[in-house]
Symmetry: C2
Subunit: 201 residues, 2 copies
């Protein structure tokens, strides 16, 4: 009947499990139990294994989707800028978008930021390729700004990039709604701090 074929039910169930996992990991960190994830997905622990071979597989997929989701938002935000945008304007859009993706726009991105620091060696290695690709995209953004002469000569852009990642990812640990600051204000503050620093001017 339905002319447009809907995605297979198993695909949707798999997605439901991943959604649940992303939420639970973003709340409890890497140590979260499969039973909690199963419960949130509305099934029993054993049933998860029809869709995933192991806990590691599930974690790996959440991580991958987390980086993918963050990158989708960053790329979209940068892409929305007019072609006349300067490298620094593009970098600002990226910082805003990444921060917003961590602070609640995507459970996957939040989960990724929250647990990436607690991964055991095996998973960390497997995740490194995706991390590197994402980091390289950022390096391009920083590099373009640097070549345009918009970044101060004293700044080590690699170090600056890692400091920025730390500041943004760490928001998953402390930022909560109802703290008197909105996600948008937080994102603006991040841009402000990284572009001009704290000092009065």
């Amino acid at each position: 009947m339905s002319a447009a074929p809907r995605e297979a039910k198993s695909v949707r169930t798999r997605r439901r499990i991943l959604d649940a996992a992303a939420e639970v990991f973003s709340e409890q960190g890497y140590g979260a139990r499969l039973s909690d994830i199963a419960e949130r997905a509305g099934m029993k622990t054993g049933s998860l294994y029809y869709h995933f071979d192991s806990r590691e597989d599930l974690v790996a997929e959440v991580l991958r989707l987390g980086i993918e989701g963050a990158w989708d938002q960053v790329a979209a935000a940068v892409g929305r800028l007019p072609s006349t945008a300067t490298p620094m304007e593009r970098l600002a859009a990226a910082i805003r978008a990444h921060t917003l993706s961590i602070v609640g726009r995507s459970a996957y991105a939040t989960a990724q930021a929250r647990i990436v620091g607690s991964l055991p060696g095996e998973l960390a290695r497997a995740h490194r390729k995706d991390q590197r690709a994402y980091g390289d995209s950022w390096r391009d953004l920083f590099g373009a700004a640097q070549r345009a002469g918009d970044i101060d000569g004293e700044i080590d852009v690699f170090v600056a990039q890692m400091l920025a990642f730390g500041a943004m990812n760490w928001t998953s640990e402390w930022f909560r709604d109802g703290l008197g600051t909105t996600p948008e204000q937080l994102a603006d503050q991040a841009v402000l701090v990284f572009f001009h620093g704290l000092s009065a001017r």
Copy 2:
């Protein structure tokens, strides 16, 4: 015989276990096993329980000493400044000292920064009082700089403080010796970024 009484042997052993735990946690994160800690301390797993009631007790003590160690270094660095130092100079010294304490000067501080984000609810709550006290000291540093008019009016100092903590603590995840950057250079970069931002000036 020995006129100056040395500290009891049990105290030294306890310290040896804590040192081992701090190192192992800083390398492997919160998921590290007691057996690894025991091995590094030169004993068997069961023997740890003569000195600590539980894994949680051991973790809690490492966390406490981690904050204490960081604060010792920060307070000492700030205290070394001449009394004529400005609030911003004091804040700079604090950022330098905290960053250095994370990047290898104290295994406890490194371990604390590395695992504080992965703590299960129980331990996280227990640790909160120490965190708050440390955060309050930083709030004083920021507050003094703000009242002196040295911090830009657009900056939300609470948000800025949390961004700074994130950037500094995250260095425990990526900074390694032999990366072409020394700990001192890293600390200087942190000050540079947070004081003046990336922008050319």
